[in-house]
């Protein structure tokens, strides 16, 4: 993993390990055509696997030799079309539009004429092909720019040769090379065959554009799949169909860790439409295949209906007995003391707290589900010792490896096709459903589509972990924050490290910028699986820390904006030489911008208040101000949320604004009404009637402002989310004087 990779997503060891394994080969960037053909020719599935380019199943290697394809990212045919390949999963973050835009900018391609295809899964050729951690843009930026620039340089070279002029005299625009001096021009298509015969230059020698030369980047560009989406074309995992395919459901123990003792399989097999029913013992890992019963049928409905009649006797001796109410009681008892694990201990917090009474508060947030709207599914066919899979996943590379492990076949016997993904949010970093489908397909001997129900999805997620923070804040005589203590009560699966998404960084803001800070941790044992949820850790920790910072400013009788800016201090990088670290100058700039645009400080009517919050995550600096009215019955009216962000130059302004609006809705939705309750290891929520997703009437107005600083662009799928909940909670306090210290807000009597 490169320095960029590790610095952007510093936490979440479990996913780190998984992604690192998947990305082990990803050092290879844009490869030359010769290497490209060599490398892909060596890959087990052969050229068809390596060059599978979407729904037509066209093999690029079989494309006409007259096509110009200097690397795996672009192909120009003499007949006209320019095809750009987007290498990463599209999960709603807009990458299938953003990636090709970067290539097209450097290529000087006419965007209106560009065709975008989903690339084959081949990390040896493409490098990183995952969607997670908001890392796609920063880790691929230079690779994609070079891919386009190499193409442009060769087309210019072909034109120079054709006209016998110097390359320096040539310019490019809209897929055309111009020689202004002689008023000549040639389309890229007309130059394709000649360019294909030229040697591929070293990408390091190819000049990249400066920002002032951009024509496409930064504009508002509509998504490349939008026409297919609005006409209902088969884009998603759930839409895949194979000849002779059967429809499968897989029923697992409602308490994770339960094993199958027996099931009424003979009765199930006799039900209408059912073709097979069998037990899979699985690997015992929630990330792979847990024990369960597979039912195959001639239609989804027949499989769904049959499972209603399924009776399984479970051995729950090793299954989860986890209880949320039990955890809450334990955490409250632990709140007054420090935790056994020391995360950070700098200066002397006790001295500060002895000199002046500290501000104290206890914050709680629950487990929540990802609940992407496309329920988990995968289509697979196992034949002659090899498997072919169509799956909506965020981590196709990790999926390849996992399936080969689970089936006990070599990785080159696994072919995986990327489909569009009906929502990720971190849920599909895990490939459990893919492994299940693979195991079922192998056992069944027929092509299979595994379809989870919504209830399966709600009961077998890798949840955003809940947590508790017992804070103390210390102020000096001038009301400046000088000490910070947090006893973080979290969870562990293995007794050693915090569960996925449940760790606290020693550099968690604001501890790292204060002279005295003590962070300690208690880990409660947990069996229910957890995982990254949009802006992992930050999505919950920001609520606690940014709310408590506001409490400290109130105790100091100071303006929150001024208090926060004082904590930031002088503009500086908090990690020298790492441009993906928190920069206090960038932070202060977005905080000031959000405050200014929201009209911070202006008088508001009774019952209405502004709330401010800042959070840095995934290399993005975001400040948000919520403008909220609260009535006597604690009914909230969100007048607007002002968002100010700095993620460097924006690639697609429409995509950036869409992500920001979505993050606000998602952040508010989770803060207001979402909670996964569990007792005796069983999840109580079943479907959207008991797990509340914000609906249109309650969607707040969002205003987005971006400071397009001149740093490497970074991802925007996640970092706008964490400040939403604390901004709203702080606004509620400003409006009413009531402090909200737990999510979801509905549990404190709030509604919309």
């Amino acid at each position: 993993m490169s320095a960029i990779e590790s610095s952007i997503l510093s936490a979440d060891a479990y996913v780190q390990d998984m992604l690192r394994a998947a990305e082990a080969q990803s050092a290879i960037g844009t490869v030359s055509r010769r290497t490209f053909l060599k490398v892909t020719g060596l890959v087990g599935g052969g050229l068809v696997l390596a060059f599978y380019v979407g729904d037509k199943g066209v093999a690029l290697a079989n494309a006409k030799s007259t096509d110009f394809a200097p690397n795996a990212f672009l192909r120009i045919s003499p007949e006209g079309p320019i095809t750009l390949y987007s290498k990463a999963p599209e999960i709603g973050q807009g990458i299938k539009t953003a990636f090709p835009m970067i290539i097209a900018e450097e290529l000087d391609a006419d965007w209106a004429q560009v065709k975008v295809e989903q690339a084959a899964i081949n990390p040896a050729v493409y490098g990183r092909q995952s969607a997670g951690g908001s890392r796609s843009i920063p880790t691929s930026w230079n690779q994609l720019r070079s891919a386009g620039a190499v193409g442009r340089a060769m087309l210019v070279g072909a034109a120079a040769k054709l006209w016998n002029v110097s390359e320096a005299e040539l310019t490019t625009e809209n897929s055309t090379v111009f020689h202004k001096a002689s008023n000549r021009k040639a389309t890229y298509a007309s130059l394709a065959t000649a360019a294909a015969s030229l040697p591929v230059p070293d990408e390091k020698t190819v000049k990249l554009k400066s920002r002032s030369e951009y024509k496409l980047l930064g504009k508002r560009i509509t998504g490349v799949d939008n026409r297919a989406i609005v006409t209902g074309q088969p884009l998603f995992g759930i839409d895949q169909v194979l000849p002779g395919m059967q429809y499968a459901v897989f029923v697992k123990c409602p308490a994770v860790g339960g094993k199958v003792v027996e099931a009424n399989l003979e009765e199930i097999k006799k039900l209408p439409g059912v073709t097979q029913a069998f037990v899979l013992n699985g690997t015992g890992k929630p990330t792979e295949v847990m024990p369960g019963v597979a039912i195959l049928a001639k239609s989804t409905w027949a499989a769904f209906s049959a499972r209603q009649k399924l009776q399984v006797k479970w051995d729950e001796s090793a299954a989860s007995k986890d209880s949320w109410t039990g955890y809450v009681e334990q955490a409250k008892k632990l709140a007054a003391q420090s935790g056994p694990d020391s995360i950070r201990n700098t200066g002397d917090v006790d001295k500060v707290f002895a000199e002046s009474k500290p501000v104290e508060a206890f914050y709680t947030y629950p487990f929540i589900a990802h609940a992407p709207l496309e329920p988990m599914n995968t289509t697979a066919v196992f034949k002659d010792g090899a498997i072919e899979i169509w799956s909506p996943t965020q981590t196709p590379e990790a999926g390849l490896k996992l399936v080969s492990d689970v089936l006990g076949i070599a990785q080159d016997k696994v072919t995986l096709h990327q489909t569009r993904v009906g929502g990720g949010f971190g849920r599909r970093l895990m490939n459990d459903y893919m492994c299940e489908a693979a195991a079922i397909a192998k056992q069944a001997g027929v092509p299979v589509k595994l379809q989870w129900t919504r209830e399966d999805d709600m009961h077998h997620d890798f949840y955003r972990v809940g947590g508790f923070h017992s804070f103390k804040g210390g102020l000096d005589k001038a009301g400046k924050l000088i000490a910070w203590q947090d006893h973080f009560i979290t969870f562990t699966q293995d007794g050693q490290r915090p569960t996925s998404g449940g760790d606290l960084s020693p550099d968690e803001f604001p501890a790292q910028v204060l002279p005295n800070a003590r962070l300690t941790q208690t880990k409660l044992p947990l069996k229910i699986p957890t995982g990254p949820w949009r802006a992992p850790r930050s999505c919950s920790i920001a609520f606690a820390t940014q709310s408590f910072l506001h409490e400290c400013s109130v105790a100091a009788k100071r303006d929150h904006l001024e208090f926060l800016l004082e904590i930031m201090g002088e503009p500086r990088w908090l990690q020298q030489g790492n441009e993906f670290a928190l920069n206090t100058g960038r932070a202060a700039a977005v905080i000031k911008l959000a405050a200014e645009k929201a009209g911070w400080g202006k008088p508001l009517p009774k019952g209405r208040g502004l709330g401010l919050a800042f959070h840095f995550s995934h290399a993005g600096h975001f400040a948000e101000v919520a403008d909220v009215s609260v009535d006597a019955n604690r009914k909230l009216t969100i007048h607007r949320i002002v968002v100010a962000g700095d993620v460097g130059p924006i690639v697609n302004m429409s995509g950036a604004e869409n992500q920001t609006e979505g993050a606000v809705v998602d952040g508010f939705s989770a803060a207001l009404g979402q909670q996964i309750d569990f007792e005796n290891g069983r999840i109580k929520q079943n479907n959207f009637d008991t797990y509340s997703i914000l609906r249109m009437p309650n969607a707040p107005k969002v205003e987005s402002y971006f400071i397009e600083s001149d740093f490497t662009p970074t991802g925007i799928g996640e970092p706008a989310l964490p400040p939403v909940a604390p901004a709203i909670a702080n606004a509620i306090f400003a409006a009413t004087g009531h402090r909200v210290r737990s999510m979801p807000f509905t549990k404190e009597g709030y509604s919309v």
Partner: protein, 164 residues
């Protein structure tokens, strides 16, 4: 059973009478634009028109709509591929994120504009409240519906809205 889907009569065999229309469309007729999200009429991803009215196809047995006119997302554009005003506005305003719910959103919005060509924000909220978007594209959906309404008022693609 005999169904009328997107203006065509189709005969569906080997289907249990209780099968929801959603699964007949998806598994038996290959019309996968209509999506499964919850199965209990909570999310709206499966919305189709039955005699022009938006209905949750996951909760309507296919046998119950025999002889009635069913329109799916695949049937909104004209035969020559011209999009209806709502579909066009969705592209113009780059509404989709993951896109999974959007077929249902478009079906509901199309039905809304047919019955109420100039909806207010409150009208839109009321009509669209049954359609979840997990990505949170509601702000753009609202804008796109207003834009589609304005285009229909100008006569653009207006005829397409009233199909079926």
């Amino acid at each position: 059973m005999r169904l009328n889907i997107n203006g065509k009569d189709v005969e569906v065999t080997d289907v249990d009478e209780t099968t929801p229309l959603l699964w007949v469309l998806r598994d038996h007729l290959g019309l996968v634009g209509t999506k499964y999200g919850c199965g209990v009429a909570q999310c709206g991803a499966c919305t189709v028109h039955i005699n022009g009215a938006p209905m949750r196809s996951c909760s309507v047995p296919a046998s119950a709509v025999a002889g009635q006119k069913v329109t799916t997302i695949e049937g909104l554009a004209s035969k020559d591929g011209k999009l209806n005003a709502v579909q066009a506005a969705w592209i113009e305003h780059d509404v989709a994120q993951c896109g999974y719910c959007q077929a249902g959103q478009i079906m509901t919005a199309t039905a809304l504009l047919k019955s109420n060509p100039k909806p207010t924000d409150a009208d839109i909220d009321a009509a669209m409240a049954g359609n979840l978007c997990r990505c949170g594209t509601y702000i753009r959906i609202r804008k796109a519906i207003h834009a589609a309404a304005a285009n229909i008022a100008k006569g653009a693609n207006g005829e397409m809205i009233s199909q079926n």
